[in-house]
């Protein structure tokens, strides 16, 4: 089967914006309920400037990638809020926290993907995520927290392309991986 950027529509039961939003809301209320709320954007917001991106891959009939992208300046405050520790955070703590956020969202996304295989371990890069050309964006949530932008995004391979391969998960360029 030939891979193409022309992808078939996702199945009706695939992950959509509303489902992703509910997953992120549940995570936020569980672990960030003590800080000010995250405000969803009304329109897509592409983050400019330095970012950190945590991603987890999903294998199976519909390979995918789930990423959380955060402005680099917002990563440490976000990790501090998750850990409820504002001082003494190391870079490793920040990468660890972002990886866990991706892991939690990814695990819940995986439950919505038909015939999903395994959930990968989180990987961190200091760049925007790079899914394979076989994947298309299935769901996205842009939000602002304490003046910092975050993007949650899900890519899934279209069913017709599922046998063609898997979504490439780029290795880290920071040398950090959870």
């Amino acid at each position: 089967m030939t891979q193409s950027t022309e992808t078939a529509p996702l199945e009706p039961d695939a992950v959509e914006d509303e489902a992703l939003s509910q997953i992120v809301d549940a995570m936020w209320s569980s672990y960030f309920g003590h800080v000010e709320p995250m405000l969803p954007a009304f329109e897509p917001h592409d983050i400019e400037g330095p970012v950190l991106c945590a991603s987890v891959g999903i294998s199976g009939a519909r390979p995918g990638l789930v990423s959380v992208v955060v402005e680099k300046a917002g990563a440490a405050p976000l990790a501090g809020a998750l850990l409820q520790e504002d001082e003494g955070l190391t870079d490793e703590d920040v990468y660890d926290a972002l990886g866990e956020i991706a892991n939690i969202v990814g695990g819940n996304v995986k439950a919505l993907v038909p015939d999903a295989g395994a959930l990968g371990l989180p990987g961190i890069v200091a760049a925007q995520p790079l899914p394979s050309s076989a994947a298309r964006q299935a769901a996205r949530l842009d939000a602002n927290w304490q003046g910092h932008w975050l993007t949650f995004v899900v890519w899934l391979a279209a069913p017709a392309q599922a046998v063609a391969g898997h979504v490439k998960h780029t290795s880290t360029d920071t040398g950090q991986e959870d």
Binding site: D96, N103, G107, K110, A111, G120, L121
Partner: protein
Amino acid sequence: MKALVVDDSRVMRQIVIRTLRQAGYDWVDVVQAENGKEGFDAVASEQPDLVLSDWNMPEATGIEMLHNLRASGQDVPFGFVTSEGSEEMREKAAAAGALFLIAKPFTPEAFAEALKPVLG
């Protein structure tokens, strides 16, 4: 009473321990391990009364640790704390001998409900 928390994420181990306290189990001693291999060894060395383990971890996964524990005759009460809470995962966990599976994101109430039969 002692609980072993196994997760490759230090952040998540801290959250699990914090939630354990919030669920009312502040009297439980906690020891930690970073993966299923270390967790297996820690069960032997620490003799915990309960294991709370992540599923996806390097070296050895949580389900591999559980299989190895049962194969070695170790029947320590075992529960998963994982981001994957599908029915399929719950069935796999139960078939391997896990008492419960707490899905992330979780609440202190979910911990209290799952842990009450084990820790009282």
